[in-house]
């Protein structure tokens, strides 16, 4: 602190010391009068007798912010499982088969393609990189899936592909924010928050919006990708862990028994009830509810997050590794959560950023291992939901924040030892499955090397509009007033993608 700061501080302190009761009364004449008037007005409220204060018409939402509400339009699904591959998986090694790219392998990329494009790492003129996987058509739909995903290729008839999703972001953080909040900048609510705000939660013992992460890191954009933005914070995602305590600090502290905890909460709630009888503030009721819900969650959450009690054949189908943090565990948990009435389950799996800077990020090596990691669990998730009759009323969405280039990455203009691809948002693949989705559909076609869309280009807003549509919302009418204008998830854009709807 320099001397000027000290001087100013001292001056302020002197001023405060010089203030007397006289000043207070003098300065606050108007304010105190107002306060007094307010309390008069309250005390002679002619509409409510003193005993009837508690009968103010409260909506269910006033008391319980997670109370469920009917959607404006008939919904096709009541819950969502969103599988996000953080880092952006390569569509060219998984779903988007480009034989021409194979033929052009190692040829210099034509300059016309590069003009006006921004890349994160590619400099100068890169070479085209042929697909590093073998492709085949699968199922009755005849959709293409690579040999990196042998299990998924057996359930391919359940899903609908979007082959030409477009994003204008080419760095992970903004692109992930865009994918989950509809804006590449901070401050907007995530899809899960919009959905829990709009529909509430069916199960009153569990959070409405649960987030599970795997791959060792959380997404680059941070926890804002499941944040509630300007919506009340009760609608933000609750991160649960498949390893250790499912929710941090969920256990009672040592030496505090369950009964003692219950009587503590009862005592607090009694005081709060008295407070409510006096002031009739619905916030107090909401708080009472939150205490009770937290108490119930203490038993309900560990129960639903425990995968050990699942039968052996189910665990094998998913390929779970109990006690570890894995995508497989999270897929099984996602099913359990949806089965128990959780509205929105968000999975993030980290490690898909295949730049080719090393073994783990090579599209022919590390990427293949990542594919093996998700192949069995996500296929098992679809089959398990199906056999339980849940796939009819659940929407499963798979995707990354963008796609990858048909060109091999040449970081700093140098040729690299491993084969990798740079970030590319012009056209990449996502898929959806579940209620209201046209099974085996494929919408969107990319050019011969998979660089841009030829037909059926859809935007991130379109994907959001489609998800909202299936949940029973018109994305153009589902708004929240903030800073003087109504905001919506899709801002001023978005069209429902009819081509993949049943």
């Amino acid at each position: 602190m320099n001397s000027l700061d000290r001087l100013i501080k001292e001056k302020l302190q002197r001023e405060i010391q010089a203030k007397t009761r006289r000043h207070f009364i003098k300065d606050c004449v108007a304010g105190m009068g107002g306060l007094a008037l307010g309390s008069f007005a309250m005390s002679c409220n002619s509409f409510l007798g003193n005993n009837e204060k508690a009968k103010i018409a409260l909506t269910e939402r006033d008391v319980n912010p997670l109370a469920s509400m009917a959607p404006p339009f008939p919904a096709k699904v009541k819950s969502v499982i969103y599988l996000h591959m953080a880092g952006a998986p390569s569509q060219l090694e998984m779903f988007d088969y480009k034989p021409t790219l194979h033929k052009l392998h190692n040829q210099a990329c034509p300059q016309s393609l590069l003009e006006g494009k921004k890349f994160a790492f590619i400099r100068g003129t890169p070479k085209l990189l042929g697909p590093q996987a073998e492709f085949k058509q699968h199922g009755e739909s005849g959709n293409w899936v690579s040999n990196f995903l042998p299990h998924f290729s057996k359930v391919v008839d359940e899903v609908a592909f979007l082959k030409a999703v477009n994003t204008d972001q080419f760095n992970h953080g903004p692109a992930q924010l865009f994918m989950h909040t509809g804006s590449p900048r901070l401050g907007r609510p995530s899809i899960g928050s919009w959905v829990t705000y709009g529909l509430g939660s069916e199960n009153q013992n569990l959070p409405g919006f649960v987030v599970l992460t795997s791959g060792g890191k959380t997404p680059d954009a941070g926890k804002s990708v499941w944040g509630s933005g300007f919506l009340p914070s009760v609608y933000q995602g609750v991160q649960c862990r498949s390893k250790g305590d499912p929710v941090l600090y969920i256990d009672d502290p040592k030496g505090i028994s369950r009964n003692l905890k219950k009587s503590t909460i009862d005592a607090i709630n009694n005081i709060n009830k008295k407070e409510f009888n006096e002031y009739s503030d619905p916030e107090i009721l909401a708080r009472i509810n939150q205490y009770e819900m937290a108490f119930r969650m203490q038993t309900a959450v560990p129960e639903v997050m425990n995968i050990n009690n699942e039968p052996e054949h189910i665990k094998e189908m998913y390929g779970v590794q109990p006690g570890k943090e894995s995508f497989a565990n999270n897929c099984l948990l996602a099913r359990k959560l949806v089965e128990d009435g959780v509205r929105f389950v968000q999975l993030f799996d980290w490690g898909w950023d295949s730049h080719g800077t090393g073994h783990d990020t090579a599209v022919d090596l590390g990427l293949r291992n990542k594919c093996t990691e998700i192949d069995r669990p996500m296929s098992a998730l679809l089959l398990d939901l199906k056999q339980r009759g849940l796939l009819d009323e659940t929407l499963v969405v798979w995707g990354g924040e963008f796609g990858r280039t048909p060109m091999q990455e040449n970081r700093e203009g140098q040729e690299m030892a491993y084969k990798g691809r740079d970030h590319h948002g012009d056209a990449f693949t996502m898929w959806m499955a579940g209620g209201g989705i046209k099974k085996g559909a494929s919408w969107g076609v990319t050019d011969e090397i998979g660089f841009s869309a030829l037909e059926g280009q859809v935007s991130v807003h379109d994907v959001h509009a489609t998800m909202m549509h299936l949940l029973g919302f018109d994305h153009e009418q589902f708004t929240f007033d903030f800073q003087g204008r109504p905001f919506r998830l899709t801002d001023v854009e978005g069209h429902v993608i009819q081509e993949i709807l049943a």
Partner: protein
């Protein structure tokens, strides 16, 4: 000169209140004076002024009619009644003040003249209001229920539609552009009203344009005021339709834009113009949602719903616009057969019932058979074995039945095959064995999903590259 005419015309709404005031005053005085008959001189004078001001009002009204493009059909009753009012004021004046000179008037009863004038000012005034404010102005704020009683119902614009199968065959102008104009523009721009001297009822009017010239600049929508005014901010004074009128939807505006951008042809088919299908999606008739029964059903009172919620059920309308409800016991695992009676008040509305993981037994089927509209029924992970399941056959809408994780018996499956609308039955984790070769169900046949899906181990599962 024209300016002065227009100005005087525009003073009409002000001037008309003078004769109204005089006449009302005169009538009131007549009422108070009905017994004594002492004030007839004053009253006569008032009606003299009523006549003079009514005449001025008639003149200004006529100038307004000629200057602002109202058609004669719209104003004729108001015009004639206005003149009649002036004449009746004159008659009243003559009757009261100069009886000796006009003999036949002496035989006219004053009361008749008074009531005629009362009727005339009320009705003329009302017609005048209709012209300036629109004929639905007065009844617009009434609740819709009363409007329906009056037989005027809320105005509902139906979007024009074209068939999805042969959308390229539709003629852009005839099938979409003109119907949109009819719905949203023609009520002011027609041959009667002709606001801004513009008629949008048919081809000639549209091409002729309005007081500012043509409204269409072929192939340049931005320069065509027919389109450009639609996309101005709503509170801009040139925005059309005026901001308190029904606006065009985004899709409708796009149609107008594309029509102008493609030669504003009056006879070409959509296919000939080479427009994209996306543009017309909003105009395809919406496929009927067949998720739930297509029957009208009464709304469940809000307090009934909260009473059921208080009992621990999860209850929710299917959507804000549907009276059907979904009921789930997700927060009420103690639900048993006898608790079913708690739901009797909403029997007709339940279309979705989730009794999964509850204490129900086979005794529940008899009760369930009283839910006429039940479409989706979940009884997974319960103790039911399927005895008496045939009772559910009379549920004519039952489509989706979840029996997963129950002790459902194979012998009962035959009953299910007879259910009319049943499409899928989930049998995973039941004692029933999965048949070795499951045939694909034929159209209209129930599909039994035995579950037990497997993802057999393969060599690549354990390879790490």
């Amino acid at each position: 000169m024209e300016v002065i005419q227009q100005l005087i015309g525009r003073l009409h709404p002000l001037v008309v209140h003078l004769p109204i005031g005089f006449i009302i005053t005169g009538l009131l005085l007549q009422w108070f004076d009905r017994k004594n008959n002492e004030w007839s001189k004053i009253i006569g004078l008032i009606f003299q002024w009523a006549f003079i001001s009514a005449t001025i009002a008639c003149i200004s009204g006529y100038l307004l009619y000629t200057g602002e493009g109202y058609s004669f059909d719209t104003v004729k009753f108001h015009l004639w009644l206005g003149i009649t009012t002036a004449v009746f004021s004159l008659l009243m004046y003559l009757r009261l003040l100069v009886p000796s000179q006009v003999h036949f008037l002496n035989r006219l009863p004053v009361v008749l003249l008074s009531f005629s004038l009362l009727f005339l000012i009320s009705f003329t005034g009302h017609l005048g209001g209709n012209i300036t404010h629109g004929s639905d102005y007065l009844i617009e704020p009434l609740p819709n229920s009363i409007k329906t009683l009056l037989g005027v119902g809320p105005k509902v614009y139906e979007m024009p539609t074209i068939e999805e199968e042969n959308w390229e065959e539709a003629i852009l102008y005839t099938d979409l552009v003109q119907p949109i104009l009819n719905n949203k523009c023609v009520s002011c721009h027609n041959s009667k009203k002709e606001k801004g001297e513009l008629q949008l009822e048919e081809e000639n009017g549209i091409l002729k344009g309005g007081e500012n010239g043509a409204v269409i600049e072929s192939n340049d929508p931005e320069k065509s005021s027919l389109y450009a005014r639609l996309i101005l901010p709503h509170d801009h004074e040139d925005h059309m339709p005026p901001k308190d009128k029904t606006q065009l939807s985004k899709e409708e505006i796009d149609i107008i834009k594309n029509w102008i951008a493609n030669d504003n042809s009056f006879d070409k088919k959509i296919g000939e113009l080479g427009l994209k299908k996306e543009l017309f999606r909003a105009f395809f008739p919406k496929a009927k949602d067949e998720t739930y029964p297509d029957v009208d059903i009464a709304e469940v009172p809000k307090d009934t719903i909260s009473a059921i919620k208080k009992k621990g059920f999860h209850v929710e309308q299917v959507s804000e616009s549907s009276n059907f409800i979904r009921v789930s016991c997700i927060n009420k695992p103690t639900f048993s057969d006898k608790d079913f009676d708690l739901l009797s008040s909403v029997k007709n509305q339940i279309v979705y019932l989730d009794l999964g993981e509850t204490q129900i037994t086979d005794g529940i089927f008899e009760k369930l058979s009283t839910l006429p509209n039940l479409t989706i029924l979940k009884m997974d992970n319960t103790k039911i074995s399927g005895n008496n399941i045939e009772l559910l056959e009379k549920l004519e809408y039952l489509r989706n039945l979840n029996l997963m994780g129950t002790n459902f018996e194979e012998a009962q499956l035959d009953h299910l095959k007879r259910f009319k609308k049943l499409q899928i039955v989930y049998l995973f984790n039941t004692p029933i064995k999965k048949p070795n070769q499951a045939d694909k169900p034929k159209e209209g046949e129930v599909f039994f999903d035995y579950g037990d899906y497997e993802l057999p181990k393969i060599a690549t599962d354990s390879i790490v590259y």
